[in-house]
Symmetry: T
């Protein structure tokens, strides 16, 4: 007997659970690389980007918790351990002093990747409106960050 | 090449962008006429309506910002300049001292108009769930204001 | 002529109104039985469950107000009187000192029942996206509480 | 052996417990009918009465908790379930749009009834000063609300 | 030798001191009659006017303190005792239940009187810019209250 | 017919009303003379006494409002106008720069007088427990201030 | 001549002073043993009891100050020194790691003892209503804590 | 008869009213174009300018309300409707992605224009010190913003 | 070409700039000597004067920033470096333990000097109302501090 | 087997534990005598010293908790019971009305004693840097209080 | 040439940098496994442990940021990427529903390991007092958590 | 006899006092030059550096107070007067409009100088652990600022 009884059928639970697990991993990795560049950043725009990265980390931390708790609420075990996160497929920043311009270009690419995955997850969760609603909300928040990084990447 | 790369196809971007632009204009005009009557109101219920109009303005300002930033996030330029807003098609209040009863009837009509437009926009944005979700939230908030103005318009 | 003009067609208004009325009754009863056990609880886990029940009551009170005001906003009269609530069909706790273990098992069952009803209401409200969005949000919050009671019910 | 040992003699405990149980039921019903009219109110004074009813509900909720916890503290089980509350004997509002004037008259009557009962409870609890002190405080708060409804009922 | 050495010449100190003393008396009396009607008010608009009067009292109390401390700062003794205040020349409210309409008309008149006096004090203090600046600020605040009472006095 | 219906018999209402009216007058006068000396104080302990007087004024303002609203709640008209307050019988401070030591002695005497009157009012209100409870609370607060002034008056 | 003049007769002052001194000692000792077990607690319910003990300490510290200042206000010297407190007669916890179950049983007994003493003090202070009112309030707060410890002591 | 009685003579009222109406229009337009560029900004300094524009909007909104309410307080009807605002004469930003450097130069020019107009209004309002004082305060705030935009426009 | 374009003519800019520069230097030096005596104070009134000096420092720091930013806003470079401040002409406190009485007398003299200079600056800035308004506000704040030090200097 | 496993060797644990136990006792006693004199103080500086003693008590309570929890964290049982505290060796204040001057001299001596002991404990804990760091922080806070009492004790 | 110039010699920088890098990895992994068990926990103590784990995560996140920024400040690049963290050597929790008792035992072991490593890092950083001070503070915080988990692991 | 008795031997007091006096002077000068450039800054990064300089000033002001009060606490007179500060040896900024790039390079150099001095003071204060702990904390905070300025100085 399941420890946590799911309000969903087995099939829907499986598909929804995979979408949530994917989101958890992406959001944890986003919080780790956000902090990584927060620490190694250099260059003229240092302070502004340094602070903006803390906004990214705050978004990522808030939603990784919401997504993982939603997984538990439908009887699916989330996995947010480092060993799992390191296989996220998100390109990693180097362990070097990162110049502001490079950081901006890097995060434009990271968000392009994660937003595309999240949009697939919106489709995948159409049989559980509660989870879908949450994925939609997360996607909206990530696309807003994406816009800001792109706005900064525009040639002055 | 677009400055802000859209997560949407060109067609969906166009339709969604028009819906958001319409919402931005309606909400800015609502904030302007809300303040206008806030300043020119007179009559027995002055204080109560005076405060209620600031609630309307707060709602309108919060969502005009959210809607316009969503437009930017999907690569569409919002236009919230006075020259654009003055073509909103929303009936304008006179520049006279406005009695409370007239103000109530006026805002019942204004909300009837804007709510109908927002409901059309819910339909129009069905291909971008993120934007649709936002339009639904705005509509719910406007319908709540609509109810309150109607409740006040009832004959005592 | 209706006092509050509905933004919905008559048919949709009727179905949506019934879903909201059902939610209002369930949520009021949940707040009453939550307080009842908050007061009569005994046993080793007293303090922890005592506080958790206040979280349940806070959720139930917040959403009963939102749901009832949404009913009014679509021109439907909500009914939250004790005589109506006592026919909710939710099993009632005894007027006895309730041990923590019994309280946990009781609330697992209560949430199983209410969540199932709320999921039916998500289906029933598909023709008014604004209301459906609200029901989805409420369901998500109730399923999160459900998970927590189940987690506590697991045999140690 | 009693689960909660009473600091009072058996006789005093019984009389005091009945007074507290009566107060709990009255205050829960007051919070329910306060919300009911909060939702169904219409008319010129809508906003002002709408807000005032939330003040009534806040008072009723705060003191129902205090009174029920005092009952538990003297070893008496409070009963705040819907089935018990619906027998409170307090006249119920109709499920109709309620005009502001009718709402005012209705709550003047409701408070006349509850205040009279609370004054009897002050007498009944004279052998437990701690409970009596609490009943006095509740009565003072209810009489202040009573005054305000009466002040509003005066012919302009 | 003066206890508090004035930064002003004797003549300017005398004229400025009289203006401040007049303001102190008017503002204390305004706070007393504001509270008086706050307590004896009745009628349909009770709650709204009841709260508005506390705004008046807050303004009056804040500025009586500022004005009196300014008097002390220029070496002039303020006098805010009841015996002095009762000779303010401001018409007093009756000790009766005051209907909302009468209260509104009464405060329109009171503010007409006090605003006129304050405008004279602006002229009178032109030789001490620091005090004049304070009187101007007080006048602006009082004229804003005046507008609101007049707006409410307009026939609906 | 009375505008505000009293929950008390006519006799009790009369006696209780007089006690409350006396308290209102004493507390308003206390707030006025507290401010008066706050402004005219001089000497080594200036800052400490200056701040302590604002504590006195805060206490006096809070309780004059509570007492006057209680009077209204039992159908008695409070009178807090300057003309009434100036007959309080409380000795008035001079309009002179007041030295700290004189201020301390003066307030010891003022509190001796007011506390004695309040104790009489506890006796006088024994037939309305709600009012009595309020008078007791006010007396306790005033006696605490009294102790502090006496402690300061002790010869160093 | 007394440094602090008592508002009470000599007899009443003596009896009331003894009651307050007893309360001060009990409450200081309660705050010390509450902290002691807060530090030495072990076992499954550690965190929950650890936090609950800080609630006990907060109650005890707040009321020891109120009671001691009330003593001073009636001209009686409170004595809260360690040498006096150690003779309180309240059983002391051992200097050992205390298991949660033992802690619960221990505090049930401690509160049984202190509550009984406080009830005697209510009787003893009947000639000074201000002090009696304070003792009643403290007793109510302690009886609420007592109920919670008993609720936790119930066999699950 | 005027609805709102002016404390000013007819001539002064007319001149003062025109100055305030001009300020209202300029400040509303400033809030609209501030938001417009807040949404369409791109380039390296995006985040810093994005935030700074919200400071500009906050200043503009606060003072448009103060200026319009001052107009009402002297019996002059303010006009803040979109149709009126679009004739402000302030150059409008394009509906394009705006680069940070262009935004900075644009706002330097906008502030040069508005500050010059406000300085004319200081002269024009010299017969109503209360209004003049308000215009001076607004001018000071706008000149501070002007300095900051100029500082940013300096060649690095 | 000037980096920061002045809204003032060259003559007015020069005179106004000198007044602001003088104010900046006086206020920085006031903040330094305020802290100096805050640290070296001794004697019976230690705590009270110690705290009061932090109020002086807070005032001085707030206005030195406002005055210097106003200078920049009119295109004048403020100079607040230690080498400039040490030529302020304000008498310096000794590096010794300073007794409370000496501190009081010292600050009475310091404020007499600075207030006189600020009054001259009010005259000097009459051609730029914005700056003059700021200088007036600073003067008022300093004269209030001056009064308090004088009040404390009065012989007890 | 130890309930709480120490991160320290047995020798270091013993020495460190004794230092922490000594600090706990000193700080509890300091909080008790601080309150004792807070209650029995009289004289001209009453309010200032009364408040300063609450600062002392706050410091003492914060660090007694930190020190005792550190003891538990290294596996040592702290003992903060009244019977243990009364043997602290710190001279006790009399149960008399204490004049401000005597209080100041008394606390200068108390702090001289406790600071000396704390400095010994810094030496004693050099083999556990974590505890030593805590003792150093406590000593710094106590020496700051010591300075203030000495400053007040200086002859004016 | 180094981008960030170190205040330390090359040798000290190397050793200190390794200690900080180790701390960063341990603290990130602690935050990940803390969240992991926060999500998969079940059993009687669910709520209490669920909350306690968020305290652990908060501590771990705060100090990983402080430690990494300290590394950057001494010119050493921290590495907090998932691939690096997964080699931390800290035993990982299973992806299963974790019972409360197992969670407690697990975290006792995790803290035993991390505390031992941190104590080595205190030794290793003795040549940079600033870093050592930070490591000592982190160790103290972790040892406090360690105590709490051990206290909960004690057999009841 | 010393006014403030030192807890240190004469030798240690002298050396420690010199270190603290040096820190006080450096930190006051840092706060003055931080403000100076805050006011005269120009260029593309204006707003970001303008805000960062206020962070520097906040750090400098907090620690100058802590260091000076520590000096007083060990019986040493701090000297923070302008005449003393202007001999700090820290290079001064010009009284010119300062471009952002120059400001960044300037503060990198200033922090290099001050950090080196603070590291010497850590060595110098090793015989008073309390002061040394404070100097270490200040150094850590300054080195964090140093890193940020260096990061910004890196070529993009």
């Amino acid at each position: 007997m399941a420890v946590i009884e799911s309000p969903l059928s087995e099939d829907v639970q499986k598909v929804t659970g995979e979408a949530l697990q994917g989101a958890v991993v992406d959001l944890i990795d986003l919080s780790l690389i956000g902090k990584q560049v927060h620490w190694t950043l250099v260059g003229r725009n240092f302070r502004s980007i340094h602070l903006q990265l803390d906004d990214v980390v705050a978004t990522a931390r808030e939603y990784q918790d919401t997504a993982a708790e939603r997984a538990a609420a439908i009887g699916v075990l989330p996995d947010g351990r480092a060993g799992t996160v390191q296989a996220s497929g998100i390109p990693q920043p180097p362990v070097e002093w990162v110049h502001a311009d490079d950081a901006i270009r890097y995060f434009v690419d990271v968000f392009t990747l994660i937003v595309a995955r999240m949009r697939d997850r919106i489709e995948a969760t159409e049989d559980d409106e509660v989870t879908q609603d949450l994925i939609i909300e997360i996607t909206g928040a990530l696309e807003k960050h994406h816009w800001m990084w792109q706005a900064e990447a525009a040639q002055n």
